[in-house]
């Protein structure tokens, strides 16, 4: 089974628009791993077939009746999650240190539902996505759960490809999204900020031994910066799979809940060519 991840470092470069278009072009299982702020379901419009609670980290609770206000827990907590003998749930990691140090056994750990994983049918096929409750910890673990479920579905249905929509950034959920994939498609933008971020995400992919290719979105917003991306990639031996022009039709399609393949033939053709090159890349990799 092959896995392709679409990532970017910087947010808002067009990852999800790209992935939603790929959905129309291949019979793969799609997985939205941007569990903090998932958007792919807004285009794929899933009919949910299975729903699983995600229990991430536990949370500490202080029994006020037993608490003697000695402050041992507050001193021991490395996450500054206890203030004035109360647990700040958003900051609690559930590490278990406070119950350990409490001299009167006033603190216990409790399960909490940190999110939900959905399995769904869409007009393009199978789709798995996760939604983290706002402000919860351990999004990387939820990403892993989404990917495992996607693999299960792919195996069950005899599909040999999974396409993953990664979150922005380079931290925990991103590492969980790109680790162990066969190809990372990095969506770049010709702005100084996005180029800076692209360089960092490329380093992360390299760190985890994932081969990369780059697409330049909105390349005509600043052609000079686009050339810089091309030069950078040439130097590093990274292939550029395509350049997508800025066009308001991408937003219009999103507002209608469609991908660009469904919305505009001409722009759709550009994405189609990019997808064909992604497939070719995967075939090449298989041969080597």
């Amino acid at each position: 089974m092959k896995q392709v991840v679409v990532a970017s470092g910087k947010g808002g470069t067009g990852k999800t628009s790209m992935v939603s278009s790929f959905a129309a072009l291949t019979n793969a299982v799609f997985a939205d791993c941007d569990v903090d702020a998932p958007n792919l379901h807004l285009i794929l419009k899933p009919e949910i077939t299975e729903k699983m609670p995600y229990e991430g980290m536990e949370v500490a609770r202080i029994d006020e009746g037993k608490c003697i206000k000695c402050g041992e827990c507050e001193r021991a907590c490395r996450f500054n999650a206890i203030e004035n003998f109360k647990v700040i749930e958003e900051k609690c990691e559930g590490c278990g240190v406070c119950p350990l140090v409490c001299p009167v056994d006033a603190i216990t750990l409790h399960k909490r539902v940190n999110g939900i994983v959905y399995v769904a049918d869409t007009r393009f096929g199978d789709f798995v996505y996760g939604i983290l409750s706002p402000g919860e910890e351990a999004s990387g673990k939820l990403v892993t759960m989404v990917r495992k479920k996607a693999q299960e579905i792919a195996e069950k249905k005899g599909k040999d490809l999974i396409v993953i929509d990664a979150p922005a950034g380079i931290g925990c959920p991103v590492i969980s999204s790109i680790g162990g994939t066969d190809l990372a498609v990095i969506v770049a933008e010709p702005t100084m900020a996005a180029i800076h971020d692209m360089e960092r995400i490329l380093k992360v992919a390299e760190h985890f031994n994932v081969p990369t290719v780059v697409c330049i979105n909105k390349y005509d917003i600043n052609e000079e910066q686009s050339r810089k991306i091309e030069e950078y990639c040439r130097e590093k031996g990274i292939e550029i799979l395509g350049k997508i022009p800025f066009n308001k039709k991408f937003t219009e399609a999103m507002v209608e809940g469609k991908n660009i393949i469904e919305y505009d033939e001409e722009l759709g053709k550009i994405i189609r060519e990019i997808w064909n090159r992604v497939e070719k890349k995967l075939e090449e990799k298989e041969k080597t």
Partner: protein, 271 residues
């Protein structure tokens, strides 16, 4: 006063708003998007490293260790593997909670540390502090926490938050007096804005909205704000000029003076 600029969705214009606001009102800027810090691309200060972000990591004394596995059993992160005559730590899984040291009956664990990021400071017109997480690290939150130690008690501080709604965002927002939520009038922007707004409410921080790229997409954000009673503080129209200035790393309000005034007025409203 501490103002956090957040959004939920990435790429809606958090950094644009944070930078232009900080410049207009001469605030100190803190780039809390430590995974992908971008604010200094616009401020162009000569940054100097002022601090290392270290995470506690256990160090095992194999002379004292009896391989009883109490540490590994305690660790909620599965960061420790105890073998018959060795102990292995997976540092990227370790949260630095320190529990293993407490549970060890033989005093065989001491505290080491490793660097997971750095804090920078510089000045160009305004002061800027920036946190940077090392590539390959998973935990952004301790870097944000370290950076926030530099937030000044007096004066105005503007914090540029990371995208998403997870732990690094909470760490950034926590203790702020006001949250500016930057969104764009698209289904993706609207969807993530609602989550970010819920988060601000949960943390009990007053919030207002800046709609960026106003004119693209639809009016669902405005409708929602009207129904929920959230103030729309500013609308930045979609303009090729602003997009181009952004791509070159130029803060648009320092290029277009009327916008500088608008950001000052925005501060008057929330300040």
């Amino acid at each position: 006063m501490i103002i956090t600029v957040a959004s939920g969705k990435g790429g809606t214009g958090k950094t644009t708003v944070a930078v232009n606001l900080a410049l207009a009102i001469e605030a100190t800027l803190y780039d809390c998007d430590v995974e992908e810090p971008n604010a200094n691309i616009f401020i162009k200060a000569d940054l100097q490293k002022v601090d290392d972000v270290k995470l506690m990591n256990p160090v095992f004394d194999l002379q004292k260790c009896t391989f009883c596995k109490k540490c590994a059993e305690f660790c909620k992160y599965n960061a420790i593997a105890v073998l018959s005559s060795d102990v292995i730590l997976f540092p990227e899984l370790c949260s630095g909670c320190g529990g293993c040291k407490i549970v060890c009956p033989y005093d065989a664990i001491s505290e080491g540390s490793r660097s997971i990021g750095e804090i920078y400071h510089g000045k160009n017109g305004i002061e800027i502090y920036q946190g940077v997480m090392n590539v390959g690290e998973a935990r952004a939150t301790p870097v944000v926490a370290k950076l926030k130690e530099y937030v000044k008690k007096d004066g105005i501080s503007v914090l540029d938050a990371p995208p998403g709604n997870g732990c690094p965002v909470i760490e950034t927002m926590h203790g702020s007096d006001f949250v500016i939520l930057v969104t764009e009038p698209t289904p993706f922007g609207f969807h993530d804005f609602k989550i970010a707004y819920e988060l601000a409410k949960k943390l009990d921080i007053p919030a207002g909205v800046v709609i960026n790229r106003y004119g693209v997409g639809d009016d669902s954000v405005e409708k929602y704000c009207r129904d929920e009673g959230v103030d729309v503080l500013m609308k930045i129209p979609y303009s090729r000029e602003i997009a181009e200035l952004y791509s070159k790393g130029i803060p648009f309000a320092s290029h277009i003076p009327e916008w500088r005034k608008k950001f000052q007025e925005l501060y008057e409203v929330i300040g």
